[in-house]
Structure formats: C-alpha cells, structure tokens
C-alpha cells in the first residue's frame, strides 16, 4: 500500500463521514455547514481523479455558492424544525429505506469494480482534434467546441431556473428588488472585507477565464467567482440588488446565450453545421462567446441566490 492509496482512503473516509453527518445532524443549519465542508473535500477528490477543471467548478459551486444559497433557507426555516422533525417516518420505513439504499449502493459498487479493462475512452479522439479548436485544455475544447450544444443548453437551463425563481414573487413585487436590503456599518469589518476582497476577486475571476484556453478554468468558474464577489458587496450593504425590471439587467442575462446561439447559427453557413467554427477562427470565436458568457453567468448566479423580488424600489 503506497502513501497515495493511504491518503485516498483517508480522504474517502472523511468524505463519507461528512456525507453521513449532513444527513443525520439534527439541525439544518449545522447540516448545511457539513455540506459545504463536504463540497470542499469533494474538490480534493476531483484533483485526485485528475480532473482539476471539475475540482475548480466543485470548489466554486459546492464549496461556496450552494452553501450561501442553502444557509439562507436554513436560517429562515429554523423555527419550523421541531415540527418537521416530528414527521420523521417510523422505524419500519427507515429500515426499508436503509436496506433499499444499501442494495442500490452495493449494486453500483459491483458495477464499478467490474468495469471493462482497458476502459473505453474518447481521449485519443479529443487529443487528435484539439489542434482544430485552437485551445490547449481538452475540457475547454469539449465544452466550447466538441459538445458546445450541451453548454448552450446548460446556460438556458440556468436562465430558466432564474425565471422560475422570479415567478414565485408576489404579484405586487414583480420587477422589484430581490432579497432583503442589507444594512451594515459602512466602516465596519464586513464593509472593509468587501471593499478589499471584491476587486481581487474580479481579477481572479477574469484570470480563471483567461487561463481556461490552456489550463483548468472557464467562463462558468470565473462567473461564479464574480457572482460571489457581487453578493459579498451586497451583503456588506455597499450596494443594493438592482430592480429586476432594469433593461441593462435583462440584456446582460441573455447576452451570453444569445451571442453563443448567434455564433452557432453563423456556423451554419461559415462551416456547414450549427455550432461549427471555421478552423482559422475557432479560438477568437470561443473567446467572443466566453467573455459575455462570464458576465451573464455572474449576473444569473447572483440573482439566483438573491431570490425572487420582495420589495419595490
């Protein structure tokens, strides 16, 4: 047994322990903190699996934004927890659930351990066609060129989720500002942090997009960082969430997918297929798509966390 295997075993044990605590902790508030810790360790697992791009996404989503999203709900629902716990299913149901879940997990273990060797892989195909995309990071090439349809649709899903959230607003608040108005001491510690951290975060977010051509990174990961910085500034009370009826806001929300689709449609007559890029133009086109996409992702994620509009001006 090598040190690497020992480390992997320890990591897997920690991940499983955190997952179990997330389920079994009595208070939702503590469960959410467990879940964020779990997301952090999962980023580490992805590094061990050689998927640094995924680790970056997991760090941004699992470690950060999901935590911010869930903790707000946990705090709001805190008073109802005792009543909810009383509705816990009886021991018989729980036993059946445990046995069924264990059986499914056992089946998956058996499937994982009996995977064919050598494993089927598309990596050689990706490597052979990487040069045509002009980027050096194969995951970026898959996301932006080989399977760009997935990425377009993913952004549309993000937008649909936001529309779904907005549609939960009370009628009279439609088009108003989301979330509470955070009031904080403009000279306090939180405002200090927000003032200092958010410019650094914007630089790092842009950097994460920029390196994605050849290193792990991407528009989504960069956009996540920008969204977190925006929300931080909002929580510090330095700025307020914009009213959702603003034109510029709506424009930003659709800019990313719209440009993506426009470039995709242009591919129909430039390169003969939807979302195909002429080889000489592949890299500039990918950049043209990714830069507005990062802004769109940042605004969409920020508003998704801010929630439905709940006040007028």
């Amino acid at each position: 047994m090598t040190m690497a295997s020992l480390f992997d075993l320890a990591l897997a044990a920690a991940v499983l322990a955190l997952a179990w605590w997330t389920i079994s902790t009595r208070e939702a508030f503590a469960a959410v903190i467990d879940f964020v810790a779990y997301g952090l360790l999962l980023a580490l697992v992805w590094v061990r699996l050689g998927a640094v791009d995924v680790a970056l996404t997991e760090a941004a989503i699992g470690g950060g934004l999901t935590g911010g999203l869930l903790i707000g709900a946990a705090a709001r629902l805190r008073a109802t927890e005792a009543a909810a716990a009383a509705e816990r299913p009886g021991p018989a149901v729980r036993l059946i659930a445990a046995v069924g879940s264990a059986l499914i997990a056992a089946g998956l273990v058996a499937a994982v351990l009996s995977l064919p060797d050598p494993a089927p892989t598309l990596a050689p195909n990706a490597a052979a066609n990487l040069a045509a995309t002009g980027v050096g990071n194969p995951v970026t090439a898959v996301l932006m060129a080989f399977r760009a349809t997935d990425t377009v649709l993913e952004k549309v899903v993000l937008l649909l989720a936001l529309i779904g959230v907005w549609s939960l607003a009370a009628d009279r608040f439609w088009g108003g500002r989301p979330g509470p108005h955070h009031q904080a001491d403009p000279n306090g510690a939180l405002a200090f942090l927000a003032r200092l951290l958010s410019p650094l975060g914007i630089v790092i977010g842009a950097y994460v997009l920029w390196v994605s051509a050849d290193e792990p990174g991407g528009a989504f990961q960069g956009g996540t960082i920008l969204a977190a910085m925006w929300l931080l500034v909002m929580m510090a009370g330095l700025t307020d969430a914009p009213p959702l009826r603003r034109r510029w806001l709506r424009l930003l929300l659709i800019a990313g997918p719209a440009i993506f689709l426009a470039v995709g449609a242009a591919g129909l007559w430039l390169a003969g297929a939807f979302l195909a890029y002429p080889v000489a133009w592949a890299k500039p086109l990918i950049l043209l798509i990714e830069v507005p996409m990062m802004l769109t992702v940042a605004v969409t994620l920020g508003l998704l966390l801010a929630g439905p509009p709940r006040r007028l001006e």
Binding site: A189, L190, F192, L193, L196, L197, L200
Partner: protein
Amino acid sequence: MSGLIDLFTIVAVSAGAFFFLAGTVGLLRFPDALTRLHALTKADNLGLGLVVLGLLPHAGGLLAALKLVAVWLLVLLSGATISQLIARVARREAPPS
C-alpha cells in the same frame, strides 16, 4: 542544493502541520467560544502560511509561487475579518458578564 531545499520544505511544512494540530486541539479543548476563536486564528495564519512557505520551491515557477502567496494573503484577509464577525455572533450568544 536540492537536499537543502527539501530540508527547508520538510521543516516548514511540518511546522505548519503543528499549528493545524494546535488549532484543532484548541478548538476541542478550550472552554469558551472566544478562546477557541483565538486558537483557530493560529491555524489560519501560521499553519497555512508555513505550509505555503514550504511549498514555494516546488510550485514550479515564479508565477505559481506568487499565486501561492496570494492564496495565503486572501485567507489572511478574509480570516481576520471573519473571525471578528464570528466573535460578534459569540458575544450575542453569550454576552460577557
């Protein structure tokens, strides 16, 4: 020369691990929230700082080394501020008598 660098890494990273140990022990053993917070900040500042210091020669280049230092500075900045916010929560939960 590389032996010397490795020695430097081993000493610095071990010292960093020691501060994480100290932070954990303090978090588990100290009697009230504010003293536990005190123990935690040692792990934040010194533990990660020493680990980063020890990793600098292995980062593979000046840019990567600078980014490593940036990680530490970011954690220092946010850790210091957030500790203060946590202390405020602690005071609200158990006002000093």
